[in-house]
């Protein structure tokens, strides 16, 4: 639960969460609306085409599987989140992802006559491994666009997974660090609202 030390004096400073706190909270011991959307419905992508999104899901599954009690990228909804994030990102980032995912599908078709999503782990590895290069410094990405994409997507998938609610819940359940809050600056007397 977030804590608000004092009721903000100026209404525009209220965040949606802060507003929610001020309404009477339901007191039922068990929530009555507890069905997870993912159990009854299919995600609809907003930005990637269906083949691109299928490749992204496969990539997420392979690059960050569940390890040591932590959720994997698919459990954390990382591909769905990235569909949203890249969809609102600058055009260069969008292009990097589109070209990269198309490249994975093109190489999969050429080498195995299948889409990237349909490859087994070993086949996926033959496509991913040559694109993986060490990156001494994130602001100096590899010149090869395929490698550039793979490094960026790997980093994003890891961050989206580790910053997920599922990751936090697993950390809290196992008594490891990672479930805590941090200080967030609200907009201070804004003119623009970001």
């Amino acid at each position: 639960m977030q804590t608000i030390a004092a009721a903000p004096a100026v209404p525009v400073l209220l965040t949606p969460q802060a507003n929610a706190q001020q309404t009477a909270a339901p007191t039922a011991a068990q929530p009555i609306a507890a069905t997870k959307a993912g159990t009854v419905a299919e995600p609809v992508t907003r930005f990637f085409t269906a083949p691109q999104f299928a490749a992204l899901r496969k990539l997420a599954e392979v690059l960050m599987p569940p390890i040591g009690g932590n959720p994997g990228a698919l459990d954390a909804g990382a591909p769905e989140f990235l569909d949203f994030l890249i969809g609102v990102s600058p055009v260069e980032r969008q292009q990097l992802y589109r070209t990269g995912l198309d490249l994975l599908n093109a190489r999969a078709t050429k080498q195995f006559n299948k889409s990237f999503a349909a490859l087994d782990a070993k086949q996926a590895d033959t496509i991913i491994r040559p694109l993986l290069v060490p990156v001494p410094w994130p602001y100096d990405p590899p010149k090869d666009p395929g490698s550039h994409f793979l490094i960026a997507a790997h980093d994003d998938i890891r961050t989206a997974t580790r910053n997920s609610r599922e990751w936090g819940a697993a950390a809290a359940a196992s008594g490891r660090r990672g479930g805590g809050g941090q200080q967030y600056w609200n907009p201070v007397d804004p003119i623009y609202k970001g």
């Binding site: 004096a9 802060a18 060490p134 997920s164 479930g179 600056w185």
Partner: protein
Amino acid sequence: MATKEYDVLIVGSGHSGGMAANILTQKGISCLMLNAGPEADMARDRTTKTVWDLPYRGFGKPGRLPHVYQATEFTANQWVDEKEVPYTHDPAAPYNWVRVRLLGGKSLFWGRQSFRLSDFEFKAADIDGTGDNWPISHADLDPFYSRVEGILRVSGRKEGWPQFPDGNFLQADYANDSGSIKKISELGASRGILFSKIRAANGRNGLASSINLLLPDALASGKLQIVPNAIVREITVDKNTGLANGANFVDRHSRQEMHVKARAVVVAAGTLESTRLLLNSGIGNSSGVLGHYLQDQIYGVTVVASVPEARDGKNPEYMGGSALVPRFRNLKKGEKHNFIKGYGMLINSGGAASPGYFADYGEGLQKRLDSYAGSCVSASIYGERVPRFENHVRINKTVSDEWGIPVLHIDVRDSANELNMAKDAAATAEDLLKAAGWEILSKTDKFYPPGYSIHEVGTCRMGDNPKSSVLNKWSQSHDVRNLFVVDGGSFVTCGWQNPTLTILALAMRASEYMADQMQKRII
């Protein structure tokens, strides 16, 4: 209508404006401080949140603060909104201008590393054989440094090295170095590279800001009033005397245009905003160097190694701690390098490896990360940029901010000196870490765009010659004698050192001189 005339108008409330207010009010001088942004209320304006509750899972809103690499989704609202107050640059020459307009400015968030400049910086031209010396030396600033160190409560280890002048430090208890730091220090010493410790301001309760160390005394004197959300548009000048007589400002909320009168003006808007203000006011530039010689340090050059004996959780006592290596290049006449000036190094022991160091993924990657955790030693540099006339800011007449104030166009490019220095730094760090028998995991001689260090200085530089400098040695305008610029604008060279201790010492010195001149009615 209020028509009060203040003794001094201070523009800006950060370290530099705070110091001016502190000193001037102690001398009985009435001050009005205008600050462009609001006052933050730490209780109201901060909330505890978990990263998954943020709309962008900690990635931040894409494209919101493209130049502030330091911004996270947690901190995005503390920085100046780039749409509200934009600036321009050639896309091929990016500049990262990192700004805070809250009351207290950047002093609310700084890292508190506090180093003096030495005569290797103040008298740089004598050593480099090119460029200009400052009109002052370390001896001139020494008493002011000592007083500022007392206010900030700086701790540090005394060394007696001229390139790293000691100060008025709190008694700091330095634990014994870990084995890894000892080893690398000894290797450094055998190569003439001396290892010391970070010097840092303790402040009070972890804050070493104008709002808790400088402004409270000034307010208690009854001689200071502070107006928030007051954006100064231009300094006004009396046509008959040529002296500054106040400023026009705009209220951020009502957009009401206002004028305030003062007998003298202190500009402390944070280097580039001060220069923008002077350029927009059309004053202080008879030399033609206003806006020129913009500098900061190059950051980003880093080498990381792993200590094999410390992998897989073994020998944890061998790891941990840090060291600060002050400049060691070009301290002796006749040293031959393909660059002038020098760089410092920060060594950290006991860190984790970044996933990017390994071309691996999934379980394989995780195994490596687990094995290397805690075994890493990194060396990163603080490199001095050369002051060059070409690296400059000017007013972009075609773009204005939210209040119709013309913005800055910033043009800073790297020279061969920066590139060669970065190469030397990366090679030297690699050589040290390798000599220790450690595995190099990553090495880069690339660095961030200029401005990234948040140590922008110059553009209003001081000097004895009014034809080649904007300010005299008291941070006073050569052209307008009741106008002082007390932030980093006055720097002649930037050094490898973080600038704030020097900014504060210069602001203190300038303010005492100004008070004296006002009391003697010279101003």
